[in-house]
């Protein structure tokens, strides 16, 4: 495998004979900010699902952090996901757990000691200006705060790549800008970020590489009016 963190080679994924994506080839390297853009149903979420191995390709090969979709062994999927952080549009925070417990999840499942968990989570919550909210439950937070908690959860285990699926989709413009700034900060720290969004203008053009999807295929940015 090359030094790419993510490599798609001739990837296709279909659901009940409907091709969600096909003929996808691209790479993502450390410290890159890759924006996946396109209209609804273009295949952005499918590509992110293929990266975190929520799905496997029906054709072609997906390689993520050294793990290849065509040579999966037991434990590979869990091992790969521990090197990935994921942020969703709807936050996906566990409603019956506090902010602290939500953020700590990736450390807990990887067997970190309680002392390690406390140290890392407290430090990250302080960075995210969420320390005062650590004992709150998700329903007690604003949308922007919930998304910052979700970003903290994605970052807590020092991932090599962060996937963000429409992370600003449920947020007001101010909160959206904060989340994008957070993601840009992550990239500056050397972690790769793949963000799916239908609105690429949220990310400064000079800060990211843009991939445009239409009907499940990558297209030339020049062919897509909103990219210009």
């Amino acid at each position: 495998m090359s030094d790419a963190l993510v490599k798609f080679t001739g990837v296709a994924r279909s659901y009940s004979d409907w091709p969600a994506v096909e003929g996808i080839d691209f790479e993502v390297r450390s410290g890159e900010f890759v924006v996946l853009s396109g209209p609804s149903g273009a295949g952005k979420t499918t590509i992110l699902r293929l990266v975190w191995m929520g799905d496997l390709p029906t054709a072609g090969r997906v390689e993520v952090c050294g793990c290849s979709s065509d040579r999966l062994r037991p434990g590979d999927v869990a091992g790969t996901r521990r090197r990935i952080g994921i942020v969703f549009q709807d936050f996906r925070l566990l409603p019956d757990r506090t902010v602290f417990d939500n953020v700590a999840l990736p450390l807990i499942v990887s067997g970190s000691s309680p002392a390690q968990v406390r140290k890392r989570v407290f430090s990250l919550l302080a960075e995210m200006e969420l320390s005062h909210r650590r004992a709150s439950f998700p329903h007690e937070l604003s949308g922007g705060e919930q998304q910052r908690v979700a970003v903290a959860r994605a970052l807590v285990a020092h991932p090599e790549i962060v996937l963000a699926d429409e992370p600003t989709g449920n947020l007001d413009p101010e909160s959206s800008r904060l989340v994008v700034d957070l993601l840009l900060g992550i990239v500056r720290g050397g972690t790769a970020v793949m963000m799916a969004t239908h609105d690429p203008r949220q990310v400064p053009p000079e800060s990211a590489r843009f991939l445009f999807l239409e009907r499940g295929r990558l297209v030339n940015p020049a062919e897509w009016p909103e990219a210009r």
Binding site: G54, L56, D96, V109
Partner: protein, 295 residues
């Protein structure tokens, strides 16, 4: 250790807030076990009666008149050294007559009619070692004894022992059948409960999986819940059966299950719960797939 602590925590979180559904499942499992335990209590008591009958099975060797008492006692020594023989008791002609008169006083006049010249034959009462109650072994031993010098008829319960053994064998098969039916029905019940439990916690399962939880970490809390459900349900069933047994004791005297059977029932409950949750989780927690499932 950290992972174990996390697994136990996840198990407790799974159980939290589901009191009514957990109680309903436990009640169903307990009631199923009451039926099974009641059957076991009946089986146990019948088996105990049959076993004591089997243990009482012995061989009676009637001696010929030509054998004097000294020779008879020497013969008893020979027989007591044989395989499968626990003890040999010599019953003299006079003792046999006294026994007859004591046990059947209403028929003692028969002996009087026969007169002093007639005596009941002396005999050797052979009791057997445990494990020698089978028809085949007794019949072989009886054959050997009948060929000894000075031995007349040899009687060993050939009229009722084969039937007794058949009843014991049938009861054992019934136990196994009832156990298999119980395991199947409770497994399906627990499997369904687990599917509901996973469905209720689908977001947790999904997020834990996305955070890199191993397949084992995702499944273990539900498997543990299944084991606890089966174990607690079987304990509840035993408790209810014990109460019913105590209430019926005055009317129908019987024994409750012995300790090792109780342990067996609890183990069966835990194993059944494990099997049920394992079946339920097979379809409830999916693995990444290349093709959609055909529905």
């Amino acid at each position: 250790m950290n992972e174990l602590r996390a697994l136990l925590r996840e198990t407790l979180l799974n159980l939290r807030g589901r009191n009514s559904s957990i109680l309903a499942t436990l009640l169903m499992v307990s009631l199923s076990f009451v039926v099974f335990d009641t059957f076991l209590v009946i089986t146990w008591n019948i088996r105990e009666i049959l076993r004591s009958e089997q243990e009482n099975v012995g061989i009676e060797m009637f001696l010929t008149d030509s054998l004097d008492e000294r020779s008879a006692r020497a013969l008893a020594d020979v027989v007591s050294g044989m395989d499968g023989v626990r003890s040999v008791y010599f019953v003299s002609s006079a003792e046999a007559e006294a026994l007859f008169r004591a046990e059947m006083p209403e028929r003692s006049d028969l002996l009087d009619l026969l007169g002093d010249g007639y005596g009941l034959p002396a005999s050797l009462q052979v009791s057997l070692q445990p494990g020698w109650e089978s028809e085949e072994r007794i019949s072989t031993l009886a054959g050997t004894l009948s060929r000894l010098e000075g031995v007349g008829d040899v009687v060993w319960g050939e009229d009722y022992l084969p039937g007794l053994n058949r009843v014991v064998g049938a009861l054992q098969k019934l136990d196994i059948f009832a156990g298999a039916v119980l395991v199947l029905s409770i497994s399906l019940m627990v499997a369904n409960t687990m599917r509901l439990s996973v469905s209720r916690r689908s977001l947790t399962v999904e997020i834990l999986g996305i955070c890199g939880a191993s397949d084992w970490f995702l499944r273990a809390p539900f498997l543990l819940e299944g084991i606890l459900t089966g174990f607690t349900g079987s304990a509840g069933g035993l408790l209810l059966t014990a109460v019913a047994s105590a209430l019926m004791q005055a009317g129908v005297g019987h024994d409750f299950l012995p300790g090792r059977w109780v342990s067996g029932v609890l183990l069966l409950g835990a194993v059944t719960g494990f099997i049920g949750s394992w079946i339920g989780l097979r379809s409830a927690i999916p693995r990444p797939r290349r093709q959609e499932r055909k529905t």
